[in-house]
Point group: C2
Chain length 276, copies 2
């Protein structure tokens, strides 16, 4: 059976997808598309062998998983796709209502950490469908992530204050933020170590190829999206797709603060698959 | 939005898939995998723009669809993947029980047509999960199709009689048999005629490329399947992926006989999209 690999059709996963197509690697893996929630569940239940999952999802199931080295979705300052849109300056949001896009526990928690630990304020949060106009009818600020955030920022009302959560995290923690990692089921890694090495190398090479050809990648993505090529080039350039020591430290710091907020049961170890 | 194109992970769809990968066309379409039943439903409900569907599924919804020219899954004699396994010679199956794999209305009906119209016998049919050993515990013969049939034939008990339904159809009707066609929703064809032409050309070129490189295609498929490369080369060579005049006549003859058996409400027209 082909290795079953999850794929999220977010723009930030497009560079990897582009590289896999260029390398004709989809003949060698069974790429299964899904939204993040479905992929989390499918990986946990063994319906996938490896998948991109959010940092929080890794913390919840890390005893079953190994991390793929050298690949993540991170930012070392601006991330350009996780925005708080606010009617007031952020420091004035104490006791105000904030609507949270209901599709990313990792980013929701990042906002709560920033508010509590750095701004020392306590807004009231509620989950919402990711539609900016509707969110701001009921709330004073709204958190959007991913393609929704990109779109909203692209054409947002200039009267709103806009905060990039990657930037805020870097400003206060001094560290990069890791939003997603690639997790491999331990049972798959044990049974198919050679296939896994091929996958790892191909993934790293695919990202590398896409970063070298970022204009072509952005042009292809722009063909089917509401964004210009130039906008996507900038987006792909601020994202970090590697997973170096500083990023690992950023992720562990995020976990420690999440743990102190009671959002995760323990601070997970970062356990990587072997290289070779 | 990328055109939403259905894909069935049967071996007989692999040559098209292989060609699409070689041409890096998966950046231009959203390929959605599913089993035939799901794809039939998704196409009928507008969740897909085009998809491979069985000949019977086309007859049931043809007023909503156009056919893609020059592409089908057909055979002009042996099909090597639709087999009746029988404890008795086929002409002795009158009043005997036949288990039918419950995954292909088109092939089930082909067997009933052959039995009634050519052998003039009336077995009793019942649907069953596609597992040969279990089927033959309850029946005197069993119809298997697709990858299940390939596998069963590959290692079948030599004491059974084995009949290839493509061969029987050719022997008695004198015509090719068309098992699946690519159907396009009319609303998609109307709105995106240029995209559709690109898809059509790429599909035809992809099949062409795979037939020219059939050894490589079979070797790649064999890597993940229970079959040898040589066996798959023979299989891909007996299949016909085009859709010429004789195949269209074969399909219409099949529909006429299906109609006389009361299996479809009317004999559908074969209405193709424009070329150019």
């Amino acid at each position: 059976m082909r290795p079953r690999v999850g794929h999220i059709q977010f723009i930030n996963c497009f560079p990897l997808f582009y590289g896999l197509i260029e390398k004709k690697f989809l003949l060698d893996i069974d790429l299964i598309k899904g939204n993040p929630t479905d992929l989390n569940r499918m990986l946990a239940q063994g319906e996938l062998d490896l998948a991109p999952i959010s940092s929080i999802a890794y913390a919840q199931n890390y005893d079953q998983y190994l991390l793929m080295p050298d690949i993540s979705i991170s930012a070392d300052d601006e991330v350009k796709s996780i925005y708080l849109f606010s009617k007031y300056p952020i420091e004035e949001l104490d006791q105000k209502n904030i609507a949270l896009a209901n599709i990313s526990a990792t980013s929701q928690l990042l906002l709560k950490i920033i508010m509590q630990n750095y701004y020392r304020i306590a807004p009231r949060y509620f989950a919402s469908a990711p539609e900016l106009r509707a969110m701001l009818m009921e709330a004073d600020a709204a958190l959007l992530i991913g393609d929704d955030a990109l779109r909203a920022k692209y054409r947002h009302d200039q009267s709103l204050y806009v905060y990039d959560l990657g930037h805020l995290w870097k400003k206060y923690s001094g560290l990069p933020m890791v939003f997603a990692v690639w997790a491999i089921r331990k049972d798959f890694a044990r049974r198919y170590p050679e296939q896994l090495q091929v996958i790892r190398k191909t993934f790293v090479d695919s990202i590398q190829l896409s970063l070298e050809q970022v204009e072509a990648v952005a042009a292809k993505a722009a063909q089917w999206e509401d964004f210009t090529t130039q906008y996507l080039i900038e987006y792909f350039r601020v994202l970090r797709f590697d997973f170096d020591e500083a990023q690992q430290q950023g992720l562990l710091e995020y976990y420690r603060q999440a743990y102190r907020l009671g959002a995760i049961a323990e601070v997970p170890e970062l356990v990587f698959m072997d290289k070779e």
